[in-house]
Symmetry: C2
Subunit: 150 residues, 2 copies
């Protein structure tokens, strides 16, 4: 099923800000971001497990990680002016949701992309934050090519 | 990518309860359930919109809805003994995650399945609860065929 009809109003006037500041997309993207990161983290932890244990985890990606990833990807132009960290994180979530809904990346694509950037220490929290920020920055750079130029 | 290696310990001794009481699966399934229901609800609301507006929403499915769906699907044998509503809802989430991770249903399949059962009133909260419970009961009945018989 195409989900384009869910985006009709946006597609009528597609700009960086119309996508990046959409509250409904941010809510949907919150689910996409947390689900894909949870699986990516489960995969990396399982691969790196010394005892060869399967590790399954589900968690919320912090707003700080997403906000920093957007800044480091140089994509603050997608967010509203004078955004705080919460707004910037919402923008990341909206962009991820948009690219998923227009079927440029599947859930599995996003998971694979995160895994390929994440193959590092996720046990120490400070290291995880650093690695997750890099992974989302790279994901945003990948996503950028499917988004309007202004 | 196959996610079977994330399920290695479970697959070694696969029972209704080993899947249905797994805490990691429940966490992952929480994301799958909320994301798929959010899109399904967005689709139904958009289709039924009088002004032909696109409606995008993201939300958490209540534990009560999921717990009742499990009971009505006659699948309490997948949950631990003396489960409360929270435990029963976790079991639904674990089962959905399992079927998704073994690739018997994609995210899109689950969305389509929920949409096909949901085409009713989602505006009035009491009606939504009733309709969502039916939709998840039907989803569980669909999922059952991919699960162990005891």
């Amino acid at each position: 099923m195409s989900y384009d009809f869910l985006l009709k109003d946006l597609n009528n006037k597609l700009t960086q800000k119309s996508i990046g500041t959409d509250k409904g997309l941010a809510k949907i993207g919150d689910g996409v971001v947390n689900l894909t990161y949870s699986i990516a983290k489960s995969i990396v932890l399982t691969r790196n497990s010394k005892n060869n244990n399967s590790i399954r985890t589900g968690l919320k990606v912090s707003k700080t990680i997403l906000a920093n990833a957007l800044k480091e990807a140089d994509m603050k132009s997608f967010a509203k002016n004078r955004s705080d960290a919460h707004d910037l994180a919402d923008t990341v979530e909206a962009l991820v949701a948009y690219v998923w809904l227009i079927k440029k990346m599947t859930i599995e694509d996003i998971i694979n992309f995160l895994v390929s950037s994440l193959n590092e220490n996720l046990i120490v929290r400070s290291e995880e934050i650093k690695n997750a920020t890099i992974a989302f920055r790279k994901l945003l750079n990948e996503i950028k090519k499917f988004l309007p130029e202004n």
